[in-house]
Symmetry: C2
Subunit: 367 residues, 2 copies
C-alpha cells in the first residue's frame, strides 16, 4: 500500500503540472477545486444509464440549459460528451446520417479530430484554404459546395491561432447543409469578450444556419476532464444516432459513449454556478491582459504575432519553430509549434501569469 502510494506520488511529481507554470502549450486548465471536489463525490454516477441517477441527470439538464443560453440556443438539445473530438465526430455522424451524403468541408485550420471523424465515418474531408487572416476562405467554400456535401464545419477559436471563421457568411453559403461550429476552446471565451466589448461577431446559434456547436468546459470552463458539451439546434437530430438499449433504464441510447463519465457533470455544475458570468469574465479579462503582456514581451525580443490575438491563444512567426520548441522543451518549457505559417504557439491559460511570461521570454531570449 505504502509502496503504491509512493509510486503514485512520484508520478504526480513527474507530470508537468500547471502549478509549475511552465506549460504554455496546453488548452486544458487546472480545474477549480470545487469542480474536483464534486467530481469525486459523484464519481459513481453514469449518465449512460440515466434513470439510475436522476440527481445527476437534473444537474446535466440544468447546466445544458445554462450553456445553451450562453450560446443563444433555444429549444435545442445538448449532452455532456468526452470532449471536442467526440463532439466533432458526433456532429459529423448526425450530418452523414441525416443527409446520406459523404463530404465534409472544413477549413485547413480545423482541429485534427476532423480527420479522425472523416476516417471513422467513411466520409471525405475536403480542406478549404484560409485567407490571409487565417480564417476559412468563403470564396473557396462556395466553389467547393456540391450535391455530395453532408456538412460544413467552422471554427470559433482555432487551436493554432484562436481565429474565428466568418460563421454568418459561411452559413449563408451552406444554406440548408448541416453546419457545425467547433467552439471547444472559444465557446467559453467569446461570450465574455463580447460582454466586455473586446470582440464582436456572430459565431453561435444567433447565426440561423448553425445546427450544432461544441464547447469544452474542461478548457476555459475550469472544470474537470471530460466536460465536453455538444449542442444541437433540433432535438430530433438525435434520432439519427440512437440505438436501442434494452436492459438500461432508458429505451434508447444516444450518442457515441456507453458509460458516460458523469462525475464531471457535477464538477462542471459546481464551477459554472459558483463562478457565474462575472467570474468567467474576470478570468478571460486576466488571460487577455496576460496575452497582451506576452505579445509585448515577445516584441521586445523580436517576435511578431501571426495575427493580432483575438483570444488567449497566440502564435509568433519564426522559421526555427521546431528547433525552438525542442530547445525550450529541454529547459522544461512546454510550447507548441505551428506549421503554416511556421510559428511557435502559446496558450495563455489562467495559470500563465506575468511572472511565468517573464521567465519564459527570458529563457527564449537566451537560446
Amino acid at each position: 500500500m505504502e509502496e503504491v502510494e509512493r509510486r503514485l506520488s512520484d508520478a504526480l511529481h513527474r507530470d508537468f503540472l500547471f502549478e509549475k507554470g511552465r506549460v504554455l502549450g496546453s488548452m486544458c486548465s487546472k480545474p477549480e477545486e470545487i469542480a474536483v471536489k464534486y467530481h469525486a463525490l459523484f464519481s459513481e454516477a453514469n449518465l449512460g444509464n440515466r434513470g439510475l441517477y436522476p440527481g445527476t441527470a437534473m444537474l446535466e439538464d440544468e447546466l445544458i440549459a445554462d450553456i445553451s443560453e450562453l450560446m443563444h440556443l433555444r429549444d435545442g438539445w445538448g449532452q455532456f460528451v468526452g470532449g471536442g473530438t467526440e463532439a466533432n465526430i458526433t456532429a459529423m455522424w448526425i450530418a452523414r446520417n441525416l443527409s446520406g451524403k459523404r463530404k465534409i468541408l472544413a477549413p485547413e485550420s480545423a482541429h485534427f479530430s476532423m480527420r479522425k471523424a472523416a476516417d471513422l465515418l467513411a466520409m471525405e474531408l475536403v480542406d478549404i484554404p484560409l485567407t490571409e487572416e487565417y480564417v476559412m476562405d468563403t470564396d473557396a467554400l462556395s466553389a467547393a459546395m456540391d450535391d455530395d456535401v453532408a456538412a460544413v464545419m467552422a471554427v470559433a477559436g482555432t487551436t493554432e491561432l484562436g481565429a474565428v471563421d466568418p460563421i454568418a457568411e459561411i452559413s449563408d453559403i451552406a444554406e440548408d447543409t448541416f453546419l457545425h461550429v467547433d467552439a471547444a476552446f472559444g465557446g467559453m471565451v467569446l461570450p465574455f469578450l463580447e460582454d466586455m466589448g473586446m470582440w464582436k461577431g456572430d459565431w453561435d446559434f444567433r447565426v440561423e444556419g448553425v445546427d450544432s456547436l461544441s464547447v469544452d468546459l474542461h478548457k476555459m470552463g475550469m472544470a474537470t476532464v471530460p466536460s465536453g458539451i455538444l449542442l444541437l439546434k433540433d432535438r430530433r437530430y438525435v434520432d439519427s444516432i440512437s440505438v436501442e438499449s434494452p436492459y438500461l433504464t432508458t429505451k434508447r441510447n444516444i450518442g457515441l459513449a456507453g458509460t458516460r463519465p458523469s462525475g464531471s457533470v457535477a464538477g462542471a455544475y459546481a464551477v459554472v454556478k459558483t463562478l457565474g458570468r462575472e467570474g468567467y469574465r474576470e478570468i478571460v479579462r486576466k488571460c487577455m491582459e496576460n496575452t497582451r503582456y506576452l505579445v509585448e514581451r515577445m516584441g521586445e525580443i523580436g517576435y511578431e504575432p501571426v495575427i493580432e490575438p483575438i483570444m488567449n491563444v497566440v502564435a509568433f512567426r519564426t522559421d526555427r519553430a521546431e528547433e525552438i520548441r525542442a530547445k525550450m522543451d529541454e529547459m522544461g518549457w512546454k510550447i507548441s509549434s505551428v506549421r503554416k505559417p511556421p510559428a511557435i504557439r502559446m496558450v495563455v491559460m489562467p495559470y500563465v501569469t506575468k511572472e511565468v511570461i517573464d521567465g519564459f521570454t527570458e529563457a527564449l531570449h537566451g537560446i
Copy 2:
C-alpha cells in the same frame, strides 16, 4: 455558493447510489475510495497530450502491462479508453481499416454498442444466432463467413446473462479474420474464477487468433469511470487509426478520443495495485457466493435462472419481465429485463449483500 452546494447535495440524494443497495441492474461498481482519491489528485492529467504528463503516462504503461499479463498478452499494445463502447468501436475501426472489408459477425447477445459501431463505421452488423446455452452458434458462424467479413467478435461475459462464447472454436473458424473479444465485464471476473478453480475455458489471448480485447476497470475492477482498456495483439494495428497531431507533444494521435480523461488512470493504478490478485479473488468469491444465494432465494419463490450463472450476472425466466421491472422500480428496486428469453436480470455487484438480496426477494414475492 451555499445555494449551489445545497443543490448539488440534493442531486446526490436523488441518485440511486449504490450505498442504498437497491440497484441490482448496474454493471458499474462503487469505486474504491483510494481510486476516487487518486483520480482527484490527477484530475488535470490529459494523456491525449502524453508528453506533458510523463508521470501519468508511466502509470498507464505499468497498468497496461499488468492487465496484459492478466489477459495473457505478450508484446502487445494497450490504452485506456472511455469504456467498453469506445473499445468495441475502436476495435472494429481497426478491423475495417486493416481489411478494407465491411461485415462484422457478432452473436445476438453482443452489447448494443456493436450496433453503434456498425452504424458509425458504415459497416454491416450480421447477427449470429445463439445456441440453447445462449452462446454464439459456431455452425451459424461458419455458414456466415465470406470474403467481405472484416471482423468477428465474441463476448466473454454477456451483458444479459454473463455467458462466455466458445472463443477457441470461434477463433478456428475465423482463421485470419480479425477477432475481437468483448470482456468489458468478464475480464475482471474470469481470471479470478479460474484462480479459484470455479471456471475453466479459453477466452483471452491464450487463444491464438484473438486480435483485440476490451475490459472495463470501472465495472468489476472497482475503479472510477472512465477506466476502459483496449488491448491489441500487435502494436502495428494502431497505425491504421492514427492521425497527425502537429501541435501536441506527440506527433501522432492514436484512437478515438482527443483529450483523454486520465485521472482515472491513477485511480485504477491505485486500486489494482492495492487490491492485487488476491483482493480481486476475494471480491469475486464473495459476489459468486451472493449470486448463488440469490439463485437459492429466487428458487424459493418460484424463479428459475435462464442459465446456471457463470459469473455474477443472472437472469430469471418470466413472461412478466417488463411488468415486474416496472413494479419493482416503483418500489425503488432497480433491475433490468431481458427480451430473449423473457427474463428479469440482476447483477450481483460487491455492494449487493445477502441482506439486500433478502429485501429484494421479499419485495419481489409480494408483487
